[in-house]
């Protein structure tokens, strides 16, 4: 067994790294740098939000009052739980507990599916009632009181849309991890992709934790 595991670990070390640990540390640094860029990209949206919220606090409160905070709250819990299952999958891999790790990965994907379903449900509801972004907002149908209520929904759709896109990408990556884990490609010697995608998934979760109060609970 030990020879075969050392064989898999060697085959994953590229020629320009000293050893598996050197490669793992480098990959991890790369992932964290990538996360910095993700946070800065969302940062632009948060800055825009802060500026216009300061200018039009009432309009943001009105916009938020039309969102269903209970659905948003459920989604927050779902994502926090998915971060737990993601972390547990790495924990199991480090102990070479393959089947538990695979289960935890599929559970994480399941949480992503629930999150996206709730989000789709919210979006369709908003579309039907005319809560569309910017100039597309149906002023008569929605009974909008603030001028430019459409801008709030501009922020709402841009922020949750970009976040939702990240959830979808994360789900795709975790499905890929689950299939590879099923084949026994990961273990205590090599789990770099799981660690990397895990960090990505936690950051996506973290961004939602900021989006939820800013969009649903403001005002």
């Amino acid at each position: 067994m030990s020879t075969s595991s050392s064989h898999t670990h060697d085959s994953h070390v590229a020629h320009h790294f000293r050893d598996a640990n050197h490669q793992f540390e480098s990959a991890k640094q790369g992932i964290w740098l990538f996360m910095v860029t993700e946070i800065l990209m969302f940062g632009g949206l948060f800055v825009g939000y802060a500026i216009f919220h300061a200018l039009y606090p009432k309009m943001f409160a009105e916009g938020a009052s039309h969102l269903n905070w209970k659905l948003g709250f459920v989604n927050t819990l779902v994502l926090i739980f998915s971060s737990y299952t993601m972390a547990m999958s790495i924990h199991h891999l480090q102990k070479n507990e393959k089947s538990q790790a695979v289960t935890k990965l599929w559970l994480t994907v399941g949480c992503g599916v629930i999150f996206m379903c709730i989000k789709a449900f919210e979006y369709t509801g908003k579309f039907q009632h005319g809560f569309l972004p910017g100039r597309l907002l149906d002023v008569v149908h929605t009974g909008a009181e603030s001028a430019n209520l459409g801008m709030y929904y501009g922020f709402y759709y841009c922020m949750t849309g970009l976040h939702g896109l990240h959830v979808l990408i994360g789900m795709g990556l975790i499905v890929w991890l689950a299939l590879r884990a099923q084949k026994g490609e990961f273990g205590e010697d090599y789990f770099t992709p799981v660690e990397g995608v895990g960090i990505f998934w936690h950051i996506v979760d973290l961004i939602w934790i900021f989006l939820f109060p800013l969009l649903y609970l403001v005002g």
Binding site: H15, G30, L33, G134
Partner: protein, 535 residues
């Protein structure tokens, strides 16, 4: 002096990164940083040719007042493509993606960059963005200028959305390259290669990579919001919907001012290498030059407001941004004086790379000092949006970055291809480009001071003579670059074989064979001294 061969000399006709694998497919699927550097070189030089043709068209139209060859709409498009291609497809990727890719691992004694697959992906992403950008030429064109200012960019009925997507995609490529370089510098240095033994080119590329990582995502979200604005009218930048077009300028320059240093810092790195190598002298103030790169990168994030002195920004903000902008002059001057001190009592020789480095010092000094004039609010109100600004940033971007790129290409050409070029013709290219550049752009300072606005299709007859001189200069530059293309192509076809270290330089890339083998070094190097230990 000391044409030293440190390591054992290598037999000729050996296996190297060029001849080890054959066929087109081996190039398009190669994970070798050297081959990827060459892929970038071919694509960026091609885009440079396209952007240059647009530049010649602009100057041709402005040869005389009134309409010559273009309609006003066509002129706006030509001007936009010149700017967008040169910024996003030539100068931003230029030195880091070509010379950085090729020499970063070699100079720190690594076998490759940290993530070779990601490196190749960056090139494909870059090409995807570039192809989208080129496609806009056939699908509606774009006339906003390379800065995409709102509200016009929301209204214009051109292919602006597509161009914005192209810039976003190329930005992603830039981020991935920067990420790769940072990890490479941190994790893959050879034994003994401490952070204060890495060549100054690496410090410059490293500082650039930090900027690429921190600034480009903000451009990404800004461009996405602009695309959303055009598609769905989300309202954030649209004053009709309660939004603020000046916010777009803030967001845009929060990236694009640091991006100016993404363009110039690598050039400064190249110049540090050239000046040390051709003065055959330990560089003066290694630590000061290294930290001034980091200093420029840090300050660059707090100066974006100087693009908005007349955009309705508050006076207090204007004064603060003016002060912070002048602060950039300090680390920049530190570099200048250290380079000059290195030259002092050096054993200087004037090979073509050195000529370009000295040209850089001269032109960049003019570009930098006129930058201080523009940072002063009182004078900027007069100079803003005139040809003075055009001349200023061309002295920095062309006089600085392109001179360094040319110098760097000539300097490293023997290492990259194992061949020598015709030195006399190479010096002639410098003369043509240097003279042509000054003839083109110096008159534009005067035109700007006289009040000629930038980006206009037409001008009053009083500006004619200087504009005609400027246009003639542009032909000289064109001839210079065509000649350098000839020099490079003939050297590739029939150049003499280059030795491993034709300049007698001390950095690591010269200690391996020319061209280097696939894994860069025949024996893993162990570093025991700094990069510029000339006796």
């Amino acid at each position: 002096m000391s044409a030293s061969t440190h390591t054992a000399s290598h037999t000729s006709g050996e296996v190297n990164y060029i001849n080890e694998f054959k066929g087109l497919k081996s190039w398009f699927t190669s994970l070798d940083h050297k081959r990827i550097g060459l892929l970038y070189m071919i694509s960026v030089l091609f885009f440079f040719l396209v952007g240059g043709l647009f530049a010649l068209l602009i100057r041709l139209e402005l040869f005389k007042p009134g309409a010559q060859y273009l309609t006003p709409d066509q002129y706006n498009q030509v001007m936009t493509y010149h700017g967008a291609i040169m910024v996003f497809m030539v100068i931003v990727p230029g030195i880091p993606a070509i010379l950085g890719n090729f020499f970063l691992p070699l100079q720190i004694g690594a076998k490759d960059v940290a993530f070779p697959r990601l490196n190749l992906t960056s090139w494909y992403v870059f090409m995807l963005g570039a192809i989208i950008a080129i496609c806009t030429l056939f699908l509606g064109k774009i006339d906003t200028g390379w800065t995409f200012y709102t509200p016009y960019s929301i209204k214009t009925g051109t292919a602006a959305t597509m161009m914005v997507v192209a810039a976003f995609v190329m930005g992603m490529s830039s981020i991935l390259t920067g990420l790769n370089f940072i990890v490479t510098v941190h994790k893959l240095r050879a034994p003994g290669m401490t952070m204060f033994r890495i060549p100054l080119f690496i410090w410059a590329i490293y500082s650039t990579a930090v900027l690429q990582i921190l600034a480009t995502p903000v451009l990404g979200i800004t461009l996405l919001l602009l695309a959303m604005e055009r598609t769905f009218g989300v309202g954030i930048f649209d004053p009709n919907l309660g939004g603020d077009p000046v916010l777009f300028q803030h967001f845009f320059w929060f990236y694009s001012h640091p991006a100016v240093y993404i363009m110039i810092l690598p050039a400064m790195g190249v110049v540090s290498e050239l000046i040390a190598a051709f003065s055959r002298k330990t560089i003066f103030g290694y630590t000061a030059i290294a930290f001034s790169s980091i200093g420029i990168a840090a300050v660059s994030f707090f100066v974006w407001g100087h693009h908005m002195f007349v955009s309705g920004q508050s006076e207090v903000a204007g004064i603060v941004f003016s002060f912070l902008t002048m602060l950039v002059g300090v680390p920049t001057a530190i570099k200048m004086f250290n380079w000059l001190s290195t030259l002092y009592r050096g054993n200087i020789s004037f090979e073509s790379p050195m000529l370009f480095a000295l040209g850089f010092l001269f032109l960049f000094a003019i570009g930098g000092v006129t930058g201080i004039m523009l940072a002063t609010i009182a004078t900027d109100v007069h100079f803003h949006d005139t040809y003075f600004v055009v001349a200023h940033f061309h002295y920095v971007m062309v006089g600085g970055t392109l001179m360094a790129l040319m110098g760097g290409l000539y300097y490293w050409f023997p290492k990259m291809f194992g061949k020598m070029y015709n030195e006399t013709l190479a010096r002639l290219t410098f003369v043509l480009i240097f003279i042509g550049f000054n003839v083109t752009f110096f008159p534009q300072f005067i035109l700007g001071a006289m009040g000629m606005p930038r980006r206009y299709f037409d001008y009053i007859p009083a500006y004619q003579s200087l504009n005609s001189i400027s246009t003639i200069g542009s032909w000289l530059i064109g001839c210079g670059f065509l000649l350098s293309l000839y020099v490079i192509v003939t050297a590739l076809r029939s150049g003499e074989k280059a030795s491993d270290n034709p300049w007698g330089a001390k950095t690591l890339e010269w200690q391996t064979s020319s061209p280097p083998p696939h894994t860069n070094f025949h024996v893993e190097p162990v570093v025991t001294a700094g990069p510029y230990e000339y006796k």
